[in-house]
């Protein structure tokens, strides 16, 4: 087991949680956009964007190649910025979000997992990257 990819070990569990959020966010935003888009367009577009980021991050981590690692790094970073920004805006200017998104209130509706997940993702990507060269030498 010299191969260090983002998909093995703890990464496998992380990807499973990511996949759950990818599925949940995608399904939720699909229903929101299909049934009541005009009620809260901004929130629903953000939901769709969040869903896309989760899907990309899941695939990026699960593929475990060098390119997909970069894809995962970018998507996890976007996710972290997203959850912090949307979280702050939803608390400070609540009328902008008449309906909740995954990232509202820093992901409070999902037990703050949306806030923890990108941090764990980035740490895991870093850790597997750091382990690579040390094994080669």
């Amino acid at each position: 087991m010299v191969e260090t990819t983002t998909r093995s070990g703890p990464g496998r569990l992380l990807i499973a949680v990511y996949a759950v959020f990818a599925l949940a966010a995608t399904a939720r935003s699909a229903v929101q956009i299909a049934t009541r888009f005009d009620r809260a367009p901004l929130a629903y577009l953000l939901s769709a964007f969040a869903a896309l980021v989760y899907v990309v991050a899941t695939i990026g981590l699960a593929r475990g190649s060098r390119t997909s690692r970069r894809v995962a790094t970018v998507s996890c970073s976007v996710e972290l910025v997203g959850v912090v920004t949307v979280g702050a805006v939803s608390v400070l200017v609540p009328h902008l979000f008449p309906d909740a998104t995954v990232w509202s209130g820093f992901g409070a509706g999902y037990g703050f997992v949306p806030l923890v997940l990108p941090v764990l993702g980035l740490l895991w990507i870093r850790r597997t990257a750091a382990r690579g060269p040390s094994l080669v030498t």
Partner: protein
């Protein structure tokens, strides 16, 4: 919805999650017994999906059909996907994936009951 079945499935899923946690703690791989447990749980979810769709067709109350059917069908995907992902790596971490899968099932059933109960759920 069928309350006893929903409650039974929630308890069964939590029991399976506890079992998987036990395997992780003991560092034992998931064997035939675990797969049989998951298969029984999946069968229960299938029964729930069939009953749920029949009830949805018959009901007069205003239930969000898309979400309801979405959750019913979605709940059937969780365990096979988790099992597939877990068995691909026969380590502790692989088995831990089963815990996640088993914990998602009760959440989905609770949401199903809320949707069925309308806004009062």
């Amino acid at each position: 919805m069928l309350e006893p079945l929903a409650t039974g499935l929630i308890l069964a899923a939590l029991a399976c999650a506890a079992w998987a946690l036990g395997l992780v703690v003991a560092n034992r791989p998931a064997g035939t017994f675990t797969l049989a447990l998951l298969a029984v749980l999946e069968l229960g979810l299938l029964v729930q999906a069939v009953i749920g769709i029949v009830n949805l067709v018959r009901t007069d109350s205003d239930v969000s059909g898309v979400s309801f059917v979405g959750y019913l069908l979605g709940s059937l995907l969780i365990l096979p996907a988790a099992t597939f992902w877990a068995l691909a790596e026969r380590t502790r971490w692989g088995t831990a994936v089963l815990i996640i899968g088993c914990l998602v099932v009760p959440v989905m059933i609770v949401r199903l009951n809320q949707i069925w109960g309308g806004t009062g759920g």
